[in-house]
């Protein structure tokens, strides 16, 4: 098995010996198969190389065969806590702080109602659904990667993004920075390469925090900025574990709690008297839930109050209203997916939710799942709600929405990997909003699940 660069290869030199050996083990990594075949017919040295290689490999395989071992499953499962697994009627956390709230019978019945469709379908169609989920995920991976590359390429050295240059309104810069971070942390694959951009983004967000804990300037959309930016800081903390983030996060959470209206929701403006709405409330609730998941233990009362306020906006069909029940300025779909996401996510963290309400809401999102989202904001909540409810049962709807999003992505030019800011919120958010939201909607099935 000696290397001889003087041997001829189709009238020229022999292929490198490494390539000849590669042809034995992995033809795809070797030289052109037809050329090599012709060459071997003429070249005894290369032929000997191939024969030697085959002989060694053959002998190793023959003599190296190892008998199967006893089943490892019991030993492996013994090392993973029982509560790490998903069970009907009760969800506990994996590899983190474990909450042990008593599960009452009605809650179990409600959970069964929530899961019965998914469970039945999962049992009957687990193989095909799961295969479909993976197929869709594979198709979307390229779209996600090019979108993430675009976001990373536009990050400023200071850690933020230029909202105005990217088509957004400057006053929403903290929220837009936050959305970019959420896209990186949730649609990204926790690559350590992301840690530096995330650390810089964290510095930018912390730099925007004022003495009272608010992230961003005080204006009509204060709580939009603050809710999204707080959620982003929490995601960075989850990804990097940076201790310097704990204090700013604690202050930001305190600001959320202090601005909660007596009724339990949040409005646009910075003040407890702001008229609450489902959209602003959904972002604050997401922050509180993730904080709860990551170990901040002072948010449960605020979450329960928020759940009560959200419950008050639900109508008989299980649809969430905007500021009150039956109020649908832009239709019920996005509002319902937002509210349902909050409710279901809270349920995933074992925060008690009225079983009758849960059943109604589950029915509501089931009815609305057939209508594809018409804007990126709606697409994110649509994907998140259906995923947290049951990604298997809603597999078809999620796949269709994902495919539709991928089809709208720019494939060429400077804006390659982005989504055009052509929906109703595009003027405020620009391309950073549309791209981040689309990426969040395409994030892996578990990324938007607060219990994971």
């Amino acid at each position: 098995m000696q290397k001889d660069t003087e041997r001829s290869f189709d009238g020229g030199r022999c292929p490198p010996s490494e390539d000849v050996i590669a042809a034995v083990l992995d033809p795809a990594a070797g030289p052109n198969a037809e050329q090599l075949r012709r060459h071997l017919a003429q070249c005894a040295a290369c032929r000997a190389l191939v024969e030697d290689g085959r002989a060694v490999v053959g002998r190793l395989r023959r003599e190296g065969a190892v008998a199967p071992r006893p089943d490892l499953v019991p030993g492996v499962l013994a090392r993973i806590p029982d509560q790490a697994w998903r069970v009907s009627g009760r969800r506990t956390l994996a590899l983190g702080r474990v909450y042990r709230f008593p599960v009452r019978l009605p809650v179990g019945i409600a959970a069964a109602a929530l899961l019965v469709l998914g469970a039945a379908l999962a049992l009957r169609h687990a193989a095909s659904r799961a295969t479909q989920a993976a197929t869709v995920a594979l198709a979307q991976t390229g779209a996600v990667d090019s979108g993430l590359d675009w976001i990373l390429a536009r990050q400023k050295p200071s850690g933020g993004w230029d909202a105005k240059a990217l088509g957004g309104a400057p006053e929403y810069a903290p929220a837009l920075d936050g959305l970019a971070v959420l896209a990186l942390t949730r649609a990204g694959d926790a690559r350590s390469a992301l840690h530096t951009p995330l650390a810089r983004a964290a510095s930018e967000l912390i730099g925007r925090q004022t003495g009272d804990g608010c992230i961003g300037q005080d204006f009509d959309g204060t709580m939009y900025n603050h809710g999204i930016a707080t959620l982003a800081l929490l995601e960075i903390y989850r990804a990097t574990g940076e201790a310097r983030l704990r204090d700013p996060i604690a202050k930001a959470l305190a600001f959320i709690r202090e601005r909660q209206s007596p009724a339990g929701g949040w409005g646009y403006r910075n003040g407890r008297d702001a008229l609450p709405n489902t959209s602003i409330t959904a972002w604050q609730v997401q922050s509180l839930l993730l904080a709860d998941r990551l170990g901040w233990q002072t948010n449960r009362i605020a979450v329960r109050k928020a759940m009560a306020w959200l419950a008050g906006t639900v109508n008989g069909n299980g649809y969430f209203g905007y500021e009150r029940a039956q109020q649908f300025p832009e239709g019920p779909k996005t509002l319902t997916m937002m509210g349902a996401y909050c409710l279901l996510a809270a349920r995933r963290l074992d925060i008690p939710v009225d079983p009758a309400l849960l059943a109604r809401v589950t029915r509501g999102i089931g009815e609305l799942a057939g209508e594809k989202p018409t804007d990126y904001y709606g697409a994110f909540f649509y994907s998140s709600a259906l995923t947290v409810a049951d990604p298997v049962a809603f597999g078809d709807a999620l796949a269709a929405a994902g495919s539709s999003l991928v089809a709208g992505q720019r494939a060429t030019g400077d804006e390659r990997g982005t989504w055009p800011a052509d929906d109703r919120w595009g003027r405020a958010g620009g391309r950073l909003y549309s791209t981040s939201m689309a990426l969040l909607a395409l994030a892996s099935p578990q990324a938007n699940d607060p219990a994971l």
Binding site: E18, V76, A134
Partner: protein, 192 residues
């Protein structure tokens, strides 16, 4: 013998099962463990630790569960699994190294290479195991992943984070050394 398993058309692909494992589906996880346990145990045996192979395979599956959120169905599942296995093996070797330093008078320098429990092997298997011992860890990894686990060169390159050319070079030199080792073991120059 190629250990990597092929799947029947009507069974869920590994990648699909991982989507469910990420949602903490015990049944999907159990299926994956059963599907890949023999391959993993054999991987660790061939990497050089016959007795600890079961424990190392178990550790790999526990880590697979722990890191389930990091998996994206971009690459093949087995690439992800053996990336974890490789990491488990490196950690195991480092632990052995630490122990070796602590008990240097008691442990021979060959402890990482010498497959313990080889008395349970027949002569042919012992010869193959001994031949693998002449390789560096880098060469041995390429040989085990390619010849026994059935991975493509490109997959191995991605797993080890090295260029494709490096995998080719390591394999070429490994086979040359293996040929010599197997020949020496038999006391004559021909291997077949």
């Amino acid at each position: 013998m190629i250990i990597r398993q092929t799947e029947a058309a009507d069974t869920p692909a590994d990648e699909a099962l991982m989507v469910l494992v990420a949602r903490r589906d015990k049944e999907a996880f159990t299926t994956l463990v059963r599907r890949h346990q023999n391959g993993l145990v054999n991987f660790f045996r061939r990497m050089g630790d016959y007795n600890c192979a079961d424990d190392l395979a178990q550790e790999t599956f526990v880590r697979l569960f722990k890191y389930r959120r990091r998996y994206r169905p971009k690459a093949k599942f087995t690439t992800f699994l053996y990336l974890i296995a490789r990491r488990t093996w490196i950690d195991h070797c480092r632990a052995l190294e630490r122990r070796k330093r602590a008990y240097e008078k008691l442990v021979e320098a060959e402890i990482l290479r010498e497959p313990s429990g080889t008395d349970a092997l027949d002569d042919a298997k012992a010869r193959a195991a001994a031949a693998l011992n002449v390789l560096t860890d880098e060469m041995r990894t390429v040989v085990v992943l390619s010849i026994y686990q059935g991975f493509k060169y490109r997959e191995i390159a991605a797993m080890l984070g090295v260029p494709l050319g490096t995998v080719k070079t390591r394999m070429f030199h490994a086979l040359r050394k293996l040929k010599e080792a197997l020949s020496d073991a038999e006391g004559h120059g021909k291997i077949v």
